[in-house]
């Protein structure tokens, strides 16, 4: 159990998928203008990453046993697209309130590279099934943490500070992300895989 918590903490703090591996930047820039939507996106990503990571582990095992791991990339992306589609349909049918709140984020998640990256990293690092579940969940939480932090800072900045015109939008997000990721380096060495 200690090992699993270790994997979880490492994927949130020291190996944060957004701030150390620089993944999932497109939505991080596009949807971090205000805190409420950022939270919505964060929660959707946690759900999708956890589900797809968990599904892709047995899928990869199956492919490997049949000697077809070359096409695992293709299969992963199809699993992710299918999961997102299914999740959207299920939410629409059974939880319309939740669908209205999070529905718009779901199609965007298919092209969020953080989701695919979690599946690829899990293969590269040869995690066991339970480790994969904790790693996927942790990576999702880490990504959500990053987007929430950036959105909170951007919201405050929009009120009070002046940004040079060339640096507006994506540029200033890069600066904020850089500073946050510097501070995350401070976690280095606490936990590791």
């Amino acid at each position: 159990m200690g090992g699993l918590i270790n994997v979880f903490l490492a994927s949130v703090l020291t190996h944060n998928i957004a701030l150390t591996y620089i993944l999932g930047m497109c939505p991080l820039i596009a949807i971090s203008k205000n805190l409420k939507t950022a939270k919505g996106m964060g929660i959707s990503v946690i759900a999708v990453i956890t589900i797809t990571g968990t599904i892709n582990w047995p899928v990869y095992r199956f492919l490997k046993n049949n000697g077809a791991e070359t096409i695992s990339l293709l299969v992963f992306i199809i699993t992710i697209a299918a999961t997102v589609q299914l999740l959207e349909m299920l939410l629409d049918k059974f939880l319309p309130a939740l669908y209205n709140a999070f529905g718009i984020f779901l199609p965007l998640i298919t092209v969020n590279c953080a989701v695919l990256a979690v599946s690829l990293f899990m293969v590269n690092r040869t995690f066991s099934f339970l480790e994969t579940v904790f790693f996927s969940f942790g990576s999702g939480v880490g990504w959500a943490l990053a987007i929430t932090l950036i959105a909170a800072i951007r919201e405050k900045m929009a009120l009070s500070s002046k940004v040079p015109s060339g640096l507006e939008g994506a540029g200033i997000v890069m600066v904020i992300a850089g500073i946050i990721s510097l501070s995350f380096i401070g976690f280095g060495g606490i936990v590791n895989f």
Binding site: L19, T20, Y21, I22, L23, G24, M25, C26, I29, A30, T70, I71, L73, L74, I77, I78, A81, T110, V111, N112, C113, V115, L116, A117, L120, F121, N124, P164, S165, G166, L167, G169, A170, G171, I172, M174, V175, A177, G178, I179, S181, L182, I185
Partner: protein, 208 residues
């Protein structure tokens, strides 16, 4: 005179749009993940640039070839399948001939699939335009992407390791900026690069 006429051909306009005015990275802020993650060494940046350009050209060409047969509802999935086919091909070539490079790029070659540029060009251009224009458009965007990667990686490799393509370029007393090889360095260099390029692009617009 010939140059003036050249400026009004569609070929020229597509090329200049992809490389300068609508450069995928600094103007549209697309495909930033890989641009930041692999630019700690020039070598990696070149490999990634070649890979993305190859995948872009092939997927745009094939999307454009079958654009009349793709049903609107499943077009996203079609792009995904086409793109991942070419990405797998690139990955296998890299593993076969440049094993060290494929090791240092790691999972990021696979992540070309979710690079928004590739998907974006298929959806915004290739699906509506004939093959030859799609190829030119893809080439322009690929070059624009590679150009940005090179610019970022040259700065980062010199500051972080004191080398350029593995050769020592800084004087002996040089202290390496280790942070430049890590994520924060990538973010800061990208921010400064965007700032410079966007300022130049805006001046260009006012002049024209």
């Amino acid at each position: 005179m010939k140059l003036v006429r050249l400026r009004y051909t569609k070929w020229y306009q597509l090329l200049s749009r992809g490389i300068f005015k609508e450069n995928p990275i600094y103007a549209m802020a697309l495909g930033i993940c890989s641009a930041l993650a692999v630019t700690n060494r020039v070598e990696n940046a070149i490999a990634m640039g070649v890979g993305v350009t190859f995948v872009l050209i092939m997927s745009s060409a094939s999307t454009s070839l079958i654009r009349k047969f793709i049903p609107g509802r499943v077009r996203m999935v079609t792009y995904m399948v086409l793109i991942s086919t070419f990405v797998i091909a690139f990955q296998l070539v890299l593993q076969a001939f440049f094993f060290d490079l494929s090791k240092s790029l790691g999972a990021y070659t696979g992540l070309i699939i979710t690079n928004c540029i590739v998907m974006g060009r298929a959806e915004a251009f290739a699906v509506k335009n004939p093959v030859h224009f799609s190829v030119i458009d893809a080439l322009a965007n690929g070059l624009g992407y590679t150009f940005t990667l090179l610019a970022l990686s040259i700065v980062r490799e010199i500051l972080a390791f004191g080398t350029l393509l593995g050769f020592q370029v800084t004087p002996d007393g040089w202290t390496n900026w280790v942070v430049m090889a890590m994520a924060p360095g990538a973010f800061f260099v990208m921010a400064i690069y965007m700032w410079i390029m966007r300022t130049i692009a805006k001046l260009d617009q006012e002049g024209a």
